[in-house]
Structures are given as structure tokens and as C-alpha cells.
């Protein structure tokens, strides 16, 4: 087989089962205490610092990282369980999610030791929030068109330019960003960008929130004006960020957040339809559940590959491609299936509010973190077509 894809069936080990119980119990407590409402899916808009600290205290941040940095040396599959339970509960993960998923692993790989020792334990304690500075006003999918300059100066760099679509920048303590340290070369247009650790809330950084059509303020514009970054905040190779970007994609693109973003409307549909569905509702629910089950098994399978030390970039891209299209269509399918739900159904109002939010959220799901078009290009390359 020239184009062999592998999605081996991973059985979650028994330690995951115990962990899942603990996470569920914790979330139930927090819901009971009023920390968050599981029926309100606007987790991305909610900043609950004390929740982050509690999650950290439970040992559920930096789970796979070395203990010397505050991590817990547990498996990717255990992290998977924690992530999916939080996601399905609509827990307010905004403050720690990016750091735990992406920024921590980048620092682990590229940051100097003293920075790792300083920052990673704080991520693990749920104390700090990260943002990612990739897109710019004229470079969206095409990351390597970034123009924001990092100009060498005494002991560091001066940053000038604008990042955009930066989730959580307005609450973030740090950002990991790519800046232009050299022009691209003729041979390699991806040359010349360097990855930096940026300390936010410092002079020369202005964060302008951007309102989304959901009414939320998740995105930001981040304007740098002669912002100084010290030399030891360079992450990895000067001018060589392009070598560092691709291997991280498997982490970013295959998680449960790539198909569960609108899952809550399925739960509420089941509630609204009741115990004795007609053929139309039963078939609709059955097909949707078959999809979410399949997506999850694919996603778990990729987590298993990560645990085995592989870099399943194509498989992760497939998960995000079909997962985000599924979660984008889900609210529309649920709306149709709910068309004949009686007004008396107890959760009808909850479902309608959720549908409203999910339908507004839907367009971004196939854009953020790698568009459908970019993903299919990666898959095509993996198939040997490019």
C-alpha cells in the first residue's frame, strides 16, 4: 500500500478509568459549587483563574512533562482523558488549555533550562496563561508570510508589527510567537522567522480585543512597538522556525477539542427527544453518535501514536479535517432533528440557546488552527501528491 494510513484501535489502559472517575467527580463538585455551568458552552469566554489552579493542584496540567519541571510523567492517553472530560463538561479551560497543549511542549523542546525551570512549573500549577502569536493581518494560513520584525539590539531584540486572531492575548501572561529576523531567501521562502517567548503586559505591547460574531471576545490584535525581548527568550534556531512548526501539529490537531466543540447540542437533543424517539429522530441520533464515536476512536488512536513517540502529522490532519467539518455541521443537523420536539420538552430553551451559540461558532471551526484547505494540502502531501 503506497498510501497506508494507520489508526490502530487503542484501548485506554486501566489507570485511565480511575483517572476519569476522579475528573468527573472533581467537575461535578465544581459544577455544584457554581464555578461553571455545564450547559453554557461559552467556555472560551470565561476566565476562571481559581479553576485553573485547582486543576493544576490535581496534577492535571503538564501531565506528560518531566517531574523536574513540575510535570507528572503520565501518559498522553491519561492527558487525553482529562482533556475530553473537561471539554464535554464545558469546563472553563481557556486559561490553561493553550499552555498545556502547545506552549509547554514548545518550551520543553526549545527554551533554555533556566526558563523551563521558571515557567513550566507555573503552567503546571495553573498560574499562567499563554497565547500563540502566529497570524498577522496579511498572513493567515500562510504563516511564513509573517512580517512582524524582530530587530537585533543590545542583549535582545526589538519587536515591531502586529499579530492578529490571537486567542486569549488579553488575559495571557506569555505568548509564543514567530517574528521575522531575516528576509526570506530565494530558495526557501520559509526562511527567516524565529520563535520567541514574549512576556505580555510589558511596555511596547498593546492588546486590542476583536469582537466575534458569537458576541465573545476571544481573539485579539496584538500590536508591538519597539517591544524588547531578551536574547534568552529565543526559542530554537534563529531564522529556522519553519523547521520547528510542523512536528507540533500532531499535538495541536488531533485532540478531542477538534470534534467536540459543539458536542453539547447532541446531548441536549437526546434529552429533548426523550426516551421513545420516532424513526426519524432515532436514525438521526444514531448516525450522529456513530460519527462522534468514530471520530473519538481516531483521535484516541492518534494519542496512542504520540505516546508511542510517533509524529502522525497526516493522521492528525485527517482527524482535524473530518472532525471540524463534523462539529461544524452538527448544530445544523441537531436543529433539523429538533424541529418537531414539543415545546413542553424541559430543556427546549437550553437547547435553543445552545444551538444559537453553536451555529454562530460553527464557521470558525474549519478556519482556526489550520484551515480545511491547509489540512487537505498536508494530507495530499502525505499521500504523495505534492
Amino acid at each position: 500500500m503506497t498510501a497506508a494510513l494507520r489508526f490502530d484501535p487503542i484501548r485506554l489502559p486501566s489507570e485511565c478509568e480511575q483517572l476519569r472517575k476522579e475528573v468527573r467527580a472533581f467537575l461535578a463538585e465544581e459544577i455544584a459549587a457554581g464555578t461553571f455551568d455545564p450547559h453554557k458552552p461559552n467556555r472560551e469566554d470565561t476566565d476562571v483563574p481559581e479553576f485553573s489552579r485547582k486543576v493544576g493542584a490535581r496534577g492535571w496540567l503538564g501531565m506528560t512533562w518531566p517531574k523536574k519541571y513540575g510535570g507528572h510523567e503520565r501518559s498522553f492517553l491519561e492527558r487525553y482523558v482529562v482533556t475530553e472530560e473537561m471539554r464535554v463538561a464545558n469546563a472553563p479551560t481557556r486559561r490553561f488549555f493553550v499552555a498545556d497543549r502547545q506552549s509547554g511542549p514548545v518550551l520543553l523542546k526549545y527554551a533554555p533550562e533556566h526558563i523551563k525551570m521558571e515557567i513550566l512549573p507555573r503552567i503546571c500549577r495553573g498560574e499562567i496563561c499563554f497565547a500563540i502569536g502566529m497570524s498577522e493581518p496579511n498572513s493567515g494560513s500562510d504563516l511564513f508570510a509573517a512580517k512582524t520584525r524582530a530587530t537585533k539590539t543590545d542583549g535582545g531584540y526589538l519587536i515591531n508589527g502586529t499579530k492578529i486572531w490571537t486567542s486569549s492575548a488579553h488575559i495571557a501572561d506569555y505568548m509564543i510567537a514567530i517574528f521575522r529576523t531575516s528576509p526570506p531567501t530565494k530558495e526557501n521562502r520559509r526562511h527567516g522567522l524565529t520563535q520567541f517567548l514574549v512576556k505580555m503586559k510589558q511596555p511596547g505591547i498593546q492588546v486590542n480585543p476583536i469582537a466575534q460574531i458569537t458576541g465573545q471576545y476571544e481573539f485579539n490584535e496584538v500590536v508591538f512597538t519597539d517591544h524588547f525581548i531578551p536574547d534568552d527568550h529565543v526559542l530554537g534556531e534563529i531564522d529556522g522556525a519553519w523547521k520547528q512548526a510542523t512536528s507540533e501539529l500532531a499535538y495541536e490537531r488531533s485532540g478531542p477539542e477538534r470534534f467536540l466543540e459543539t458536542y453539547y447540542v447532541l446531548t441536549e437533543l437526546v434529552r429533548a427527544v426523550g426516551n421513545n424517539p420516532d424513526t426519524r429522530s432515532a436514525e438521526g441520533i444514531g448516525r450522529l453518535v456513530a460519527q462522534v464515536h468514530t471520530m473519538r476512536r481516531m483521535s484516541v488512536s492518534v494519542a496512542g501514536m504520540l505516546q508511542a513517540g510517533k509524529e502522525p502529522v497526516v493522521e492528525a490532519s485527517i482527524v482535524k479535517d473530518i472532525g471540524t467539518i463534523w462539529e461544524q455541521q452538527l448544530p445544523h443537523r441537531v436543529r433539523e432533528l429538533a424541529a418537531f420536539v414539543e415545546e413542553t420538552a424541559t430543556n427546549r430553551e437550553t437547547l435553543e440557546k445552545q444551538l444559537d451559540f453553536a451555529i454562530k461558532t460553527a464557521p470558525k471551526l474549519t478556519i482556526q488552527g489550520g484551515t480545511t484547505e491547509v489540512l487537505r494540502g498536508i494530507i495530499a502531501r502525505g499521500l504523495g501528491l505534492r
Partner: protein, 355 residues
């Protein structure tokens, strides 16, 4: 995949590669490839993979047998290998020794029922029975007036068979039993019912569909890298690249769903809701993938893929045909939807996240 699965799967792959090459078969209008292929499969003990040695089989594990079916799907094999395996498995449930030769299972649809009459004979009608015309024996699951299930070995010659062909051109027949005395009949194990048989068949078909999609992806990628249009390989057109990426997605989803279900059944201690979800979801998702994925494979191939001479139809039409066996995806979606509704909204996620 465990080492033993690899060995069994490789044995099957080798036999298929030697004796069931799609191009060779496609050119052989007389079907002369069938007898040597079946002989080789039989010599390797594959048709009775799931039959314990004390019941006349080769005593392979469920997982090993499933890996054979994946390989059979990748070659879109048109002999009753899956059917004989399923029949042997069904007979073994009741400790009935499998005879040699081709077999199939009756019924093959969740809507059909075979009844055990008071005199021990069997009556009923089963539609869409794959390869009934070819089979020497049927493994029959039947229920008596009390609803208790029995497994029976039946001589195919004693049944009335109305022949038909499925979309892929393989036999799909109506089998009528009119007070047929079985060769052997024994009670099914406690809790074994028709849904169990249907879902085992459904997982077999899911693996075959996933295998066929793997091959469709492979030959489509290869074709796109050979075929030139508008002065370049069609694989260089973004529209073709994205279509093939979608086919890869469908193929991957089918593969993941089918192998996960097979793994769940192979490792199940009981046939609970979680195993039901795995089996049913595989049949639904693989059937959906057969339509979407097969459609893309044809679109990439253009007119050539629509001809009998080209091998594509061997995979695409069989994958579509396999949707209908052992309960269509619509049937199982309704059953799954009912189960989910009965468990209630708050028990959906625990079901999905069970393993």
C-alpha cells in the same frame, strides 16, 4: 497488531496476491481463478479460522480472523470466505463441528426469522443471503416458539434458493426453508441472539468495506500520479488533491471504526452496550464511507473507472453492496438511536467514552 495476527494476515495477503490479483481476476471472464483460490485458502485453514480445532477448524483467535477479513476487503475477494468464517463461528457457538467446503449464514438480515418447528425442523425465509447459491451448507440461527435460539447445520440442497446478484455481482440469494430437517441442531449459548449474529456479520462487512476503501485510495492516488490532463499530472490539480484528501479521510474513518469494533469484540467479556456501539457505529460509518469514498474514487478515475475492464468497480460496487448485508446503516442507526434515547442524555458521553 499482535504478532500472531500479522502472521495470519500475511498468509491471507500472500494467497490473495498470488491467486486473487484484481487485474487478473477482472480479465478472467470464466471465473477460473476461483477454484485454486478457494483451495489455497482451505489449505491454509482460513475459511474455518474461527472454528476451534476440536470442531474441525484452525482455532485462530477472533482478532486473527478479523485481520483476514481486512485483507479480503483490500482484495475485494469474491469467494465466500467471510461467509464461511461467519458460519463456522456460528456453528462453533453451539459446539457444532464444521463440515468442509463453502458455507454461509442464514438469516443475513435482522428483519428475517427462521423458526424451529415443534418437530425440530426449520422454516422461514431469508433474503439477501450472500453466496447461498455457492454454499454446500448453511449455518442457521433459528428461534422456537418460546424465543429460545438454536444453531443448526443445514444441507443447502434441502432449501429452496432464488438466486440474485448484489451490486458487486456476487450471489445474494433468497433462501427458503420449508420444514427442513437440519443435519445437526443445538441450543445457542445463553444470551446469544440474532442481533449478535447480525453485528458479527456487520463487523465483518465493515472490515471488508474499510479494506476496499484502502485499495480505492491506493489505486486512485496511483492513477492520479499517472494520468495527464491539461499538460500535467492530475495529481497536481488542487481540486484532485483535495478530493483525494477527502477519500483518505473516509478511508481512515472506515478503517478506524471497523478495526476498533473488531478489537472491541475480540476483547469483550460480555456483549454490552459499549460493544454494541462499536459494532453498530462501524457498520454505519463504513457504509457512509463506501458511498462518499467510492464516489470520489470514481470521480478521480473519470470514464475509465466506469468500465468493466478497469478494476475500480471491483472495490467500489462491493463496498456499496456490503452496506446492505446484516442490516443496513439506516436500520442500525435507528437501533443505536433508540438505545441512546433509552439510556438518556447524561448516559451518552459515558457510553462514547467507555474505552
Amino acid at each position: 497488531m499482535a504478532e500472531s495476527e500479522n502472521i495470519v494476515a500475511e498468509t491471507a495477503e500472500k494467497i490473495f496476491a498470488d491467486l486473487a490479483d484484481a487485474q487478473t481476476i477482472n480479465r478472467d471472464k470464466k471465473g477460473e481463478w476461483k477454484a485454486p483460490l478457494w483451495q489455497a485458502l482451505t489449505d491454509a485453514g482460513l475459511p474455518l479460522s474461527w472454528v476451534p480445532e476440536d470442531c474441525g477448524g484452525s482455532g485462530a483467535s477472533l482478532a486473527e480472523g478479523f485481520s483476514v477479513l481486512s485483507a479480503a476487503g483490500r482484495f475485494a475477494v469474491a469467494v465466500p470466505l467471510a461467509e464461511t468464517m461467519l458460519a463456522g463461528w456460528l456453528l462453533a457457538q453451539a459446539k457444532i463441528t464444521s463440515p468442509g467446503g463453502e458455507m454461509t449464514v442464514v438469516p443475513a438480515s435482522p428483519k428475517d426469522r427462521i423458526t424451529v418447528n415443534a418437530d425440530g425442523s426449520l422454516s422461514g425465509r431469508a433474503r439477501g443471503v450472500p453466496f447461498a447459491k455457492v454454499a454446500k451448507h448453511f449455518a442457521v440461527l433459528a428461534s422456537d416458539a418460546k424465543g429460545d435460539f438454536s444453531v443448526a447445520l443445514v444441507d443447502a440442497g434441502k432449501c429452496r434458493i432464488e438466486t440474485g446478484l448484489n451490486l458487486g455481482g456476487d450471489p445474494s440469494d433468497v433462501v427458503t426453508l420449508d420444514k427442513v430437517q437440519p443435519v445437526t441442531i443445538k441450543p445457542a449459548p445463553t444470551g446469544f441472539d440474532q442481533a449478535r449474529l447480525m453485528l458479527m456479520g456487520g463487523v465483518a462487512r465493515s472490515l471488508q468495506i474499510a479494506g476496499a476503501l484502502e485499495s480505492m485510495l491506493e489505486i486512485s492516488v496511483r492513477y492520479s500520479n499517472e494520468r495527464v490532463a491539461f499538460e500535467k499530472k492530475i495529481s497536481k490539480f488542487q481540486a484532485v488533491q483535495h478530493n483525494l484528501a477527502r477519500l483518505a479521510g473516509e478511508s481512515a474513518a472506515a478503517l478506524a471504526a471497523a478495526t476498533s469494533a473488531a478489537d472491541a469484540i475480540a476483547n469483550a467479556t460480555s456483549f454490552n452496550d459499549e460493544v454494541f456501539l462499536e459494532a453498530v457505529a462501524a457498520k454505519i460509518r463504513c457504509s457512509e464511507a463506501a458511498e462518499k469514498g467510492g464516489g470520489i474514487a470514481h470521480q478521480v478515475h473519470g470514464a475509465i473507472g466506469f468500465t468493466i475492464e478497469h478494476i475500480l468497480h471491483r472495490y467500489s460496487l462491493r463496498a456499496l453492496a456490503w452496506r446492505d448485508d446484516f442490516g443496513s446503516e439506516s436500520f442500525w442507526a435507528v437501533e443505536l438511536g433508540k438505545l441512546v434515547a433509552q439510556r438518556g442524555a447524561d448516559e451518552l458521553w459515558p457510553l462514547v467514552a467507555s474505552r
